[in-house]
Amino acid sequence: MDLAPLTRRLRAIVGEPHVLYRPDDLIVYEQDAIMVNRHLPDLVVLPGDTAQVAEVVRAVREAGLPIVARGAGTGLSGGAIPETGGVVVVLSRMTRVLEVDPLGRTAVVEAGLVNAEFTAMLARWGLFFAPDPGSQVAATIGGNVANNSGGPHCLAYGVTGNHVLGMEVVLHDGSVTWLGGVTWDAPGYDLAGIMIGSEGTLGIVTKVAVRLLRRREAVGTLLAVYDTMDSACEATSAVIAGGIVPEALEIIDGVTMRAVNRTLHAGFPEDAEAALLVEVEGVAEAVPTVMDRIEAICRAGGARRIQTASSAEERLKLWKGRKHAYGSLGVLARNAIMLDVCAPRSRLAEAMRAVAEAGRRWNVRISNFFHAGDGNLHPNLLFDFPPDDPAFDRVMAATEDILRACVQLGGTITGEHGVGIEKREYMPWMFSARDLDAMKRVKVVFDPDGLLNPNKIFPIGQAVHGASPRAPAAVPGGAGPAR
């Protein structure tokens, strides 16, 4: 098809420099942070405001091309890959903070605003935006909403959805509407709730009204070092069973700690198999008491050493090591798939044993750092060959073993990264055909022509790396999701 008329129209809408069509400008948008799939977009557009997004959507729809929204491209499930071609609409220019109400603790921001920049800017009021995904230094608020992103501190604060009051959305026909409000509850159906985690398949979020939290008076951070992954997992449940819900409760394995030490000098122990990173916040009088209790519980569970952050720098160093762990995988291997699965917290140790077993069985190296308090695991499958190598089958087999084990334990196939391309073929493991059909009918209401981020979420008979899937369509003994 001749793209020239559409290109001209888009240039008239957003201005010449903001429509990309040269091979070198397009090729960098064929992938997000997933490394095993890619597809070249036909065009890339960077609108500057909502009105432009709306006009762009109208123009692309009239041309009959798919529309794929993208923020910073830090997603790990391939949600921003234009697998069927079409136009990638990048929101990274839309970074304005439109309103901050420090007293009411709400704000309205554009979707392209970077999460960490937002929180840094809120510091002057002692406020912050709670969702803190590992990618927050680059990821956008719009991307957080699209994937309902979590993060270490979501254990206490909840995921992105718990902090979104409402949003402005450009619908499939280019109309602009607000869903939800700027108050804590809105009458009628929770349509904003449908958009959260919809991965760009129902509309393009252009503005978000969010809740803000106030920084607590004091914070305590400790690292409990263990000789086995089992004991670290058990300590996680013991802390919570002890009546404490810390702000964050993370596990980092030895392989990851050694890798992060090499690039970020995070100061993790070099010789441990696992460590528990715990953070509590509260009033200054309470934090030391709670920290003492956590320390006692960790020691009772076999912690070999407890390392307490004694300064803000030490705390930041530990967190940088944890949050940037995904990026450090390049130290360990040329390629990696970072899985995102859940298991009930009470069965964490079993789930981790299944992860290790999958790695042994299929001869795939696996590193782990994850939100233990949430039971949200991130096994990282490491490999040095490209995804079209026959050896990649082993990686897929290990992936499926892990997913299957989590489903069988009563967990899920994704916690916070979204389904995207990566997990679509496993949706039938979680949902019956009727469940999926009900979801598809929601999709059709918002996107009757199927142009909004096609090929995502629902199974299409194509595995993450483009090959035909290994995944059987039957639920392998799982109880299915909570109903």
């Binding site: 040269r22 070198d24 960098v28 997933i34 830090t74 680059a138 990821a139």
Partner: protein, 432 residues
């Protein structure tokens, strides 16, 4: 679904101007896992919001070119050259990707940046001026003459806008140029260390006083200072601008000229320090020099870093002003030196250090970048001057010649009342 773009203006005015070169395999690319955590650390991504102007995007371009999936068009070269080579992405990268090495290797394939005329002039300067100290001095004398005789003022009236900016950026050479009175300058008082000093090309010609101050401070602190007669420019500009072969020649020259039985090879220019620390990598495939280059590189220290490590012999005289510190990119990101210069500033009694926002973000100088990429350079400088203005301090410390020139130009252009100085200036003034 893929379609062709027709009836659009040519992709670039220079499209097809020269045959696309092949991109060689660059091993450093492999460490990148495309996580994107570098994006917001990149000054050019922050300004453009474009993936192709981000470190991850540029690495992706190089990778695609290596795989033969992407032709190395002038437009690809533009992306690789809009990069400042500030290496802020290396600080941000959790995988330790050495972007600076990727940029240098890729640019070596492309040759110097710019349109054909600019390319030719740049290549000539890099090959025939930079390695020759005497020719450089001649050029500086011509600049000084032009500035004093009013030729420069005249030029400002008749030249087109783009060139006027270059004239305004042209620094006043400091006459007399720096030349050490002897090759070996003894320590004052008891000798505590023996160092070899790279007097540098820009530092000697445009900041001769800073060099003199540096040598005074080193000697007062017990350093015997050797200023090797045969030294040449470090070659930083050459390696950053696609001239790796001449950069290697200059590295060999310096390795031959410098003594290595010293405690350190010191430089007061961040860019030179980063370049000399890379000599080992630069000459790794040269069997005659590889080991010597590695040893040379291991001795290189920034003067601030070295003095902080040695410890000042006595407390400097008290002052009464506040200052802010601009982290030179090739000191903070290129050499991971951040705390030492600040520690020296803190050792001056009465000096209040007031940090600016994003002190380790590039000011837009970046070697000859400010001349070749005026728009991006100005965008970064404007933001930098606002950050400096917000601190309200009268003094900016920036221990690198490129940053000093750029910030002085910025202070005049944006009306910010600050004195831009080198760390060694302040130490010398305070009698350290």
């Amino acid at each position: 679904m893929s379609g062709a773009v027709s009836a659009l203006p040519a992709a670039s005015p220079r499209a097809g101007a020269r045959a696309a070169p092949d991109m060689p395999y660059i091993p450093e690319v492999e460490a990148c896992v495309h996580c994107g955590l570098c994006l917001n650390a990149c000054p050019t991504y922050r300004v453009t919001s474009l993936e192709a102007e981000s470190p991850r995007g540029r690495i992706y371009l190089v990778e695609a070119a290596v795989e033969g999936r992407l032709a190395v068009t002038p437009s690809v070269a533009d992306h690789l050259y809009l990069c400042l080579a500030c290496r802020a992405c290396e600080t941000a990268c959790p995988s330790g990707v050495q972007y600076g090495r990727i940029a240098e290797a890729a640019r070596a394939t492309l040759g110097p940046p710019g349109r054909p005329v600019v390319r030719a002039v740049t290549r000539f300067a890099l090959r025939h001026l930079m390695p020759r100290p005497r020719r450089l001095r001649l050029v500086a004398r011509l600049i000084a003459f032009a500035q004093r005789s009013g030729l420069a003022t005249l030029a400002m009236r008749v030249l087109p806008e783009g060139l006027r900016r270059s004239v305004a950026l042209m620094p006043p050479p400091t006459l007399p140029f720096y030349a050490s009175e002897a090759e070996v300058l003894p320590a004052i008082g008891e000798r505590r260390a023996r160092v070899a000093f790279l007097s540098g090309c820009a530092m000697s010609l445009f900041f001769a006083e800073v060099n003199r101050a540096t040598v005074r401070v080193l000697r007062r602190n017990g350093c015997e200072v050797i200023v090797p007669r045969g030294q040449a420019c470090c070659g930083a500009l050459n390696s950053h601008n696609g001239e790796l072969d001449s950069a290697r020649a200059m590295a060999r020259w310096n390795i031959d000229a410098f003594p290595t039985d010293v405690d350190a090879i010191v430089t007061n220019a961040a860019g030179c320090g980063a370049a000399m620390r890379a000599y080992g990598h630069l000459l790794k495939d040269d069997p005659a020099y590889a080991a010597r280059a590695e040893h040379f590189a291991s001795l290189v220290r920034d003067t601030g870093e070295f003095l902080a490590g040695l410890g000042l012999r006595m407390s400097p005289r008290p002052v009464a002003f506040s200052a802010t510190y601009q982290d030179p990119c090739h000191l903070a990101h290129g050499q991971k030196v951040r705390t030492e210069p600040r520690a020296l500033l803190a050792s001056i009694p009465g000096l209040v250090l007031r940090e600016m926002d994003a002190s380790d973000r590039c000011c837009g100088s970046a070697g000859i970048y400010n001349v070749l990429q005026p728009e991006m350079s100005e965008a970064l400088l404007r933001e930098k001057m606002e950050h400096i203005r917000a601190t309200g301090v009268p003094v900016v410390v920036a221990p690198n010649p490129g940053c000093m020139l750029q910030l002085r130009y910025g202070a005049a252009r944006y009306g910010v009342q600050v004195r831009v100085v080198h760390l060694m200036d302040l130490l010398d003034e305070a009698g350290a």
